[in-house]
């Protein structure tokens, strides 16, 4: 059975609850759905907004490749990833990941694996708008070491 991940780049706010409901619907053989929602932090006023740039057709294809890897690695039944682009206000959802598996361990681990990839290696360019102007951001050391846990 071949599973095709669903990858969506959204330039408008999305509602995570509705995505979970839709993802869980109509499943007879899924024992576990794990979800993760990442929100934009205000950083106590330091970040008025986040701006995420993607390369449509390239960014979603790269995420799809890693999602296919996760499907094989964790024997997933389904994956849905939604990632915001554009200007994102504090409190808004940036990313949604849902994984479906027969049992919980695979669903949890796949969600963790996908987030480590998305935070450190996915092809996005991130700009933080703060009180002192805007600056481009690169992955933190923590993001890199989190992602390296799955290498090798």
């Amino acid at each position: 059975m071949s599973v095709t991940p669903t990858i969506t780049l959204a330039d408008q706010p999305f509602e995570p609850g509705a995505l979970v409901t839709a993802f869980c619907a109509g499943r007879q053989e899924t024992g576990a759905v794990a979800t993760f929602v990442g929100l934009a932090r205000a950083e106590r006023g330091a970040a008025a907004a986040l701006e995420l740039e993607a390369y449509p057709g390239f960014t979603d294809a790269a995420i799809s490749e890693i999602a296919k890897d996760a499907i094989k690695r964790f024997k997933l039944q389904d994956v849905h990833i939604v990632h915001r682009t554009g200007r994102i206000a504090p409190g808004e959802a940036i990313v949604f990941v849902a994984t479906a598996a027969g049992h919980r361990r695979e669903a949890f681990e796949a969600c963790d694996f996908l987030m480590d990839y998305l935070k450190s290696r996915a092809p996005f360019w991130k700009k933080e708008h703060g009180p002192d102007g805007a600056r481009w951001i690169e992955p933190t050391d923590r993001d890199r070491t989190d992602a390296e846990r799955w290498d090798g």
Partner: protein
């Protein structure tokens, strides 16, 4: 000819994100861009900058046609 796309800090630096440039291969494309904006030319060859031709990363030379899309990608930040 190629449709050139710039992302992230490269687009900010250049002041444009998309432009059609007459060039038959990547080397002449880089030379043309450098001639009009030497600082951009330098940044495009800077550390960590990758080139995608028709949405596939290429290392080295590539022939460009009128329909080719060339994207210069600065280091990616993750989401």
């Amino acid at each position: 000819m190629a449709r050139v796309l710039l992302f992230g800090r490269l687009a900010d630096q250049a002041g444009w994100r998309e432009r059609v440039v007459a060039a038959g291969d990547l080397a002449s494309l880089r030379a043309t861009l450098s001639a009009t904006d030497p600082e951009l030319g330098e940044a495009l060859s800077g550390p960590g900058v990758q080139v995608a031709v028709d949405k596939t990363i290429v290392r080295g030379e590539s022939v460009l046609t009128a329909a080719t899309e060339v994207a210069f990608l600065p280091p990616m930040s993750g989401g």
